[in-house]
């Protein structure tokens, strides 16, 4: 395959120590939840106050290894997601750093008011680990596919909301949130997904990352679709359209300067997330840009529908979040920019 990457592409990828993501053979497939599992163990080793509480899903949310390594700091409470939050708030009040895990649909899906009152308003240092987020949960279907969770978390004052892009970054994000005081929602997924970052890729909460340089359109993505955005950008480059790809992993507090700069430099934006378009990461980007740097924006995400059973890839395509949808959105954004 001929190299299509411009010098700018490789310099951004190099600076971020990304793998050669354009080469399928170089890209490992690992669920982001695995990164949470390994990160949690390391967080537990670094700080004896880290405790893990699980609502009956220890294996699938990857708390099993922590349970074996730190049995005294693993708390099983059964199927009780409201308790998960409120009890963790009590533990945090007494100095613990509780990570609480279940599927995102129930945690924080079932416990919103407890999150607002006992975590955010009460300013407790609880870390929600929302597993199985997005339609990429796959066969379990709509009841278990959280696609509203970013919206309901980001509207709560003081909440930190993080959606890492791959398993490596999920590990780093887990460690970072353990060391950062504040009520936090960490979102990750079930499906095997591309590992594009490496051990050397930096990670800082609240600091968006440019994974690809380009001046025509800025693609601002989060979660496992960052990889899809990079692949779409390579596709667009074949048509001579150079996209900046921003890994916008911290939804709140969002890196406003980076978002404004991307919009200012490129003049058009596409947001990409495995979530409802309404209220999600892209909505926050639009709020920022409407006030500070109005440019044409196209949104990639689920449009006011529920999920369904299927394979992750089938569902990503069905809900308009695949490579071709991103390519089309970027072209629309570019056309709108040029028509101004």
């Amino acid at each position: 395959m001929p190299a299509v990457a411009s010098a700018g592409v490789s310099s951004a990828a190099d600076a971020m120590h990304l793998v050669d993501y354009a080469d399928p053979a170089a890209v490992k497939q690992v669920p982001t939840r695995n990164g949470f599992g390994t990160g949690l163990i390391e967080a537990g080793e670094r700080d004896a106050n880290v405790v893990a509480i699980c609502a009956d899903l220890s294996e699938s949310v990857r708390m099993e290894a922590f349970k074996k390594r730190f049995p005294d700091r693993y708390i099983a409470i059964g199927v009780a997601e409201q308790l998960l939050v409120a009890m963790a708030a009590g533990l945090a009040s007494a100095g613990k750093i509780p990570f609480i895990a279940s599927y995102a649909m129930f945690n924080p899906g079932r416990s919103w008011e407890q999150v607002r009152t006992t975590m955010a308003l009460n300013e407790t240092n609880v870390k929600i680990a929302g597993a199985h987020a997005g339609v990429s949960v796959g066969p379990d279907g709509a009841t278990h596919q959280a696609i509203e969770d970013i919206a309901i978390m980001r509207v709560i004052p003081k909440m930190i909301v993080v959606v890492p892009c791959d398993a490596n970054q999920t590990k780093k994000a887990t460690l970072a949130v353990a060391e950062t005081f504040g009520p936090t929602y960490l979102r990750f997924g079930r499906a095997e997904s591309a590992v594009i970052t490496t051990e050397d890729t930096p990670f800082e909460l609240g600091k968006a990352q440019t994974f690809r340089d380009g001046g025509d359109v800025a693609i601002v993505a989060c979660g496992i679709l960052v990889y899809t955005a990079l692949i779409a950008a390579d596709e667009l480059a074949k048509d001579g359209i150079q996209c900046r790809v921003v890994n916008n992993h911290t939804i709140k507090p969002m890196d406003e300067p980076a978002i404004v700069a991307a919009a200012a430099d490129c003049g058009a934006v596409v947001t990409v997330e495995e979530h409802q378009v309404a209220g999600g990461m892209g909505s926050r980007v639009a709020e920022i840009l409407a006030e500070k740097q109005p440019v044409p924006i196209e949104f990639i995400g689920v449009r006011d529908r529920f999920g369904q059973s299927g394979s992750p890839q089938e569902l990503i395509e069905e809900y308009g979040m695949g490579t071709s949808a991103i390519v089309a959105a970027a072209k629309r954004a570019l056309a709108r920019k040029r028509a101004r």
């Binding site: 409120a86 009040s93 100095g95 407890q114 009152t117 006992t118 009460n122």
Partner: protein, 286 residues
């Protein structure tokens, strides 16, 4: 244990009377708020702040303090009043209740006033947080205790029962739940709205140690707290049978006083009654 010296009893009853006066004064100044439950829990809060708990008003962040959580945050006036008389802040600050800029928010906010331990008001959440705190104390091998004051009405919330199971599972004998069993909630009698009885039996079935007492009798309350502290291996519940509005004759037993404050003239009558009662405290007991 179980034997309270007469002069100590007199002191505690006087404190409870002070707390009731503080409730009336703050509620009439606020112009809104919950009267009945605040008044009927004055004895419990006086017992906790002036006898039962290990705490220091000058060091609200003392790591070894006992934790008191008010789950039914709407009766905040009783807690604020007890805290003021215990020395956490000036009694006159009670008159700022529910006003702009106050630390005494309409429902308790820990960030405004850290000694509150939690932010509360949304019902059914206190025991869950108390369970977390009590478990943290166990993990740290600390000997401080957790007290959670709940309303009977909030026992209709599912989360509370999740916490009941959990406290028993972890054998949290450092956790005491107190129920303001006054049989009223906003819409009427608890037994009409959603029956709770047999409430004590439900706690027994959940493997709790159950103590039932007259929640407006200081001697009985102190004995109940003493018994609770002596229990090993189980969380304890004190079902405090109270008379809503206790201490103010025209409010006693009337659910309509659940969610409203006295007007100025009503408050004057209430305060006169309380002052008269205050003069009688200890009389005849030497």
């Amino acid at each position: 244990m179980g034997s309270l010296a007469p002069e100590r009893l007199t002191e505690l009853e006087a404190h409870a009377n002070d707390v009731r006066q503080g409730i009336i004064r703050s509620l009439v100044a606020a112009g809104s708020g919950h009267s009945a439950g605040s008044l009927d829990m004055a004895d419990v809060f006086a017992a906790l702040y002036f006898h039962v708990m290990r705490h220091d008003p000058k060091r609200p962040d003392w790591a070894e303090r006992d934790r008191l959580l008010l789950s039914c945050g709407h009766i905040a006036p009783v807690r604020y009043s007890a805290m003021a008389y215990a020395g956490y802040f000036p009694v006159e600050e009670l008159l700022t209740l529910r006003k702009f800029g106050t630390r005494l928010q309409g429902h308790p906010e820990r960030v405004s006033l850290p000694a509150l331990e939690t932010t509360s008001g949304p019902l059914g959440e206190g025991l869950a947080q108390g369970t977390g705190m009590a478990l943290a104390a166990k993990l740290d091998h600390a000997d401080w205790r957790v007290y959670v004051v709940t309303s009977d009405g909030e026992h209709q919330c599912g989360l509370h029962w999740e916490a009941m199971m959990t406290a028993a599972k972890f054998k949290l004998d450092n956790l005491t739940c107190i129920i303001d069993r006054n049989f009223i909630q906003i819409d009427g009698s608890t037994e009409d709205i959603m029956p709770l009885e047999p409430l004590a039996g439900k706690y027994r079935a959940f493997n709790w140690h159950v103590i039932e007492c007259d929640g407006n009798d200081m001697t009985a309350l102190v004995a109940a707290f003493d018994e609770a502290k002596s229990v090993k291996g189980k969380p304890q519940v004190i079902v405090a049978n109270t008379v809503p509005g206790k201490g103010v004759s025209f409010m006693e037993g009337d659910y309509l006083w659940h969610g409203k404050p006295p007007k100025k003239d009503e408050a004057d009558v209430a305060l006169r009654e309380l002052l008269a009662a205050r003069e009688k405290i200890g009389a005849g007991r030497g």
